[in-house]
């Protein structure tokens, strides 16, 4: 295992160092279950510039985690299958790479942080083992060197007494500390793209802020691109550059962060924003979105959001699905009535 992985990477045909670090085009993922086919992702597209932070926003079950897993190539197959689209890393379609080469992309170029660090870390191995494994398998380091690097990493993510804690097991860490271990693990091999899947959801509010600050700091230092997957609009506002809002496996609105907050162009985005309690609107009734998200085996025709939408008209209830309307040069929305929605504010 002493091969230098980076050398190999350059050997990937068609690799263009100047291309965008990540570009997703019309991605489709479905799950073949006993109860029918669940269309989890239905044509998601987005791209990511170097150093950029893109937030993917949506309720649970909207397909955002599945998208992340598809990018990483860690979908459970079966039942999950990528049925269409492209995932380009520096111009190379990862979906077409043989597994051995694709594996080298993981953690080296694109790394991922999971939501629940307790279950995402293997309970029967020490933290040091799980960190060091990356250096040993990808960089061919000895156990001793790998351990030294692990300690450095734990220092980097500001875990106190790293030298002792490196020999401990995940369940001996607190929630926040465990998430720091996850971050350390993701950063270990200096990836260009980091995908963070709800990195703070399982944490206390105060700890959440610390973790987000840490992430932001590390991203700045290393000029990484970050895909931040979350359902929490509050988290997004501070760190994201651009936002993709997902609903029922589709991106229904895509825009720079400030534009969205200022004037959402899709009723769903609007509903999400309105459900954030705001101090300045104290006393007013919180307007949450009515109803439940659709079952993925049975997505409504036309616009998937139509049963819950206050703007919905007949045109929304029939196929074909709503196209993406170009709202401005840098933003799109999938709503026939985006103008009304936007102007409504």
């Amino acid at each position: 295992m002493s091969t230098d992985v980076n050398v190999k990477m350059d050997a990937i045909p068609g690799l263009d160092p100047n291309a965008m670090p990540l570009q997703v085009k019309d991605l489709h993922v479905e799950f073949r279950t006993r109860n029918g086919i669940a269309h989890a992702v239905n044509g998601v597209s987005f791209d990511l510039q170097p150093g950029e932070t893109r937030a993917i926003l949506g309720e649970s079950g909207c397909g955002k985690s599945v998208t992340a897993q598809a990018i990483m190539g860690i979908l459970d197959t079966p039942p999950g299958f990528v049925t269409g689209g492209e995932i380009l890393y520096r111009g190379v379609d990862l979906l077409k790479l043989p597994e051995a080469q694709r594996r080298k992309v993981r953690a080296n170029k694109i790394a991922m942080i999971f939501q629940d660090a307790l279950s995402a870390l293997n309970p029967v191995f020490t933290v040091g083992f799980q960190l060091g494994e990356l250096f040993r398998k990808h960089r061919g380091m000895s156990r001793k060197d790998a351990k030294a690097r692990s300690i450095e990493l734990l220092d980097l993510v500001k875990i106190p007494a790293a030298r002792q804690r490196v020999n401990e097991y995940p369940h001996q860490f607190s929630g926040g500390m465990r998430q720091r271990v996850m971050i350390a693990m993701a950063l270990a091999l200096d990836p260009e793209v980091l995908i963070a899947d709800e990195p703070t959801t399982a944490l206390d509010v105060t700890v959440q802020a610390q973790i987000m600050a840490l992430l932001a700091e590390l991203q700045r230092e290393r000029n990484m691109s970050l895909v931040l997957i979350t359902h929490d609009m509050g988290v997004v506002a501070d760190v994201a550059d651009r936002i993709s809002v997902m609903y029922a496996g589709r991106v229904i609105e895509e825009a720079p962060v400030n534009d969205i907050y200022a004037s959402p162009a899709h009723p769903y985005t609007k509903g999400l924003l309105e459900s954030i309690p705001r101090l300045d609107l104290k006393g007013q009734e919180l307007s949450a979105i009515k109803g439940l998200p659709p079952v993925l085996t049975n997505i409504p025709r036309g616009c998937a959001f139509n049963p819950r939408c206050r703007y919905a008209q007949d045109v929304c209830r029939h196929d074909p699905p709503v196209p993406l309307y170009q709202v401005s040069s840098a933003r799109t929305a999938a709503c026939h009535f985006w103008k009304e929605v936007k102007g409504d504010e």
Partner: protein
């Protein structure tokens, strides 16, 4: 860790004593209700009462409490405990006046060999089949393993044993024995229809496999479900996200976790395997513990039954204790509870 072991040890003591008393009480009741087992030695011939009394006395069945139905015979129990937990453990003698410790030490090596073979067979084949099926959930391999293991569990072990002895040991073995080029250790040892002193290990292989068969099925099923559950675990996904080779994801991150319940099962199963030896040893004529205890139970030699079963239970309990400790070693979550 230390505290954990101590706690388990403390729980161990009342269990051992309780189990031994239970056995003592059962065998005492047996004598109280069904009479002096010594009488059976003489068979159809009615012995002179004096001779009967003399033999009864020598065998330790003379205690008057054994004539009172329902009497728990605490005194006798204390006597027995003192003898068992002395420097020279004394578990009593059988009707032929051989000490139970000697009977057991004669028989134990065979049963142990049988058990080792059974456990090796059960773990190697069972885990391999379970992993194979678990990794290919829903495939032909999976269904094959699923169906064959359920079938194996459903067939009574004595039927399995008889069929194997007649068809593998006798019929197939005779074919092999007709071939000059096959080494004797295979044709006369491994494929012998039962235990053979000339090939003390080779001739135990097939009986051991029969003994391990049921547990093998259970092991395979357990491994399969465990692998399937763990493959969905978040940390396996993490391992993949780390760009590790599939071999390592399965071999290190999945297997280690999946095997914890399997190893625990195999450990706990030693007890039932020993009991399963009762059947296997009879069919394959292995002079081990199982055969000993069945014969003793049939003739009502309570001193042997209580002695052997007590020793077996001690073995089982110690095995369980070791398994618990092993469990703690394997799964750090237990250790720091």
């Amino acid at each position: 860790m230390g505290r954990y072991v101590i706690r388990r040890l403390l729980q161990f003591i009342p269990t051992v004593l309780g189990t031994m008393f239970l056995l003592h009480y059962i065998t005492s009741l047996a004598i109280q209700f069904s009479g002096n087992p010594v009488r059976a030695i003489f068979g159809d011939r009615t012995p002179p009462p004096a001779l009967l009394a003399a033999v009864t006395e020598r065998l330790g069945y003379g205690d008057p409490c054994l004539d009172q139905k329902g009497n728990p015979c605490f005194g006798l129990f204390l006597d027995r405990m003192q003898k068992i937990f002395s420097l020279n453990p004394d578990f009593g003698v059988n009707l032929r006046l051989r000490p139970v410790t000697e009977l057991v030490s004669d028989a134990l090596p065979y049963t142990l060999k049988l058990l080792v073979i059974a456990i090796l067979f059960q773990s190697i084949v069972g885990i391999a089949a379970g992993v194979w099926a678990g990794l290919r959930s829903g495939s032909f391999a999976d269904n094959l393993v699923k169906i064959s293991t359920v079938f194996l569990i459903s067939v009574p072990i004595f039927v399995l044993g008889l069929v194997v002895r007649e068809f593998v040991g006798v019929k197939f073995g005779n074919v092999l024995r007709g071939q000059e080029w096959i080494p004797e250790v295979i044709s006369r040892g491994v494929f012998s229809p039962g235990f053979k002193p000339d090939y003390p290990l080779a001739s135990l292989i097939i009986p051991g496999m029969v003994l391990g068969a049921v547990s093998l099925a259970t092991t395979a099923r357990l491994t399969r479900t465990s692998i399937m559950e763990n493959l969905r675990a978040d940390y396996v996904r993490t391992a993949r996200a780390k760009g590790l080779a599939n071999k390592r994801v399965i071999g290190v991150h999945t297997l280690r976790n999946s095997l914890i319940p399997v190893i625990t099962f195999i450990g706990v199963d030693i007890g039932s395997s020993m009991a399963g030896a009762v059947v296997t040893e009879t069919i394959f004529n292995v002079p081990g513990i199982g055969r000993l205890v069945t014969l003793a139970a049939r003739t009502g030699e309570s001193s042997v039954v209580i002695g052997v079963v007590t020793m077996l239970v001690l073995v089982v309990l110690i095995a369980n204790l070791l398994v618990d400790i092993l469990y703690a070693v394997l799964d750090p979550r237990i250790r720091y509870e």
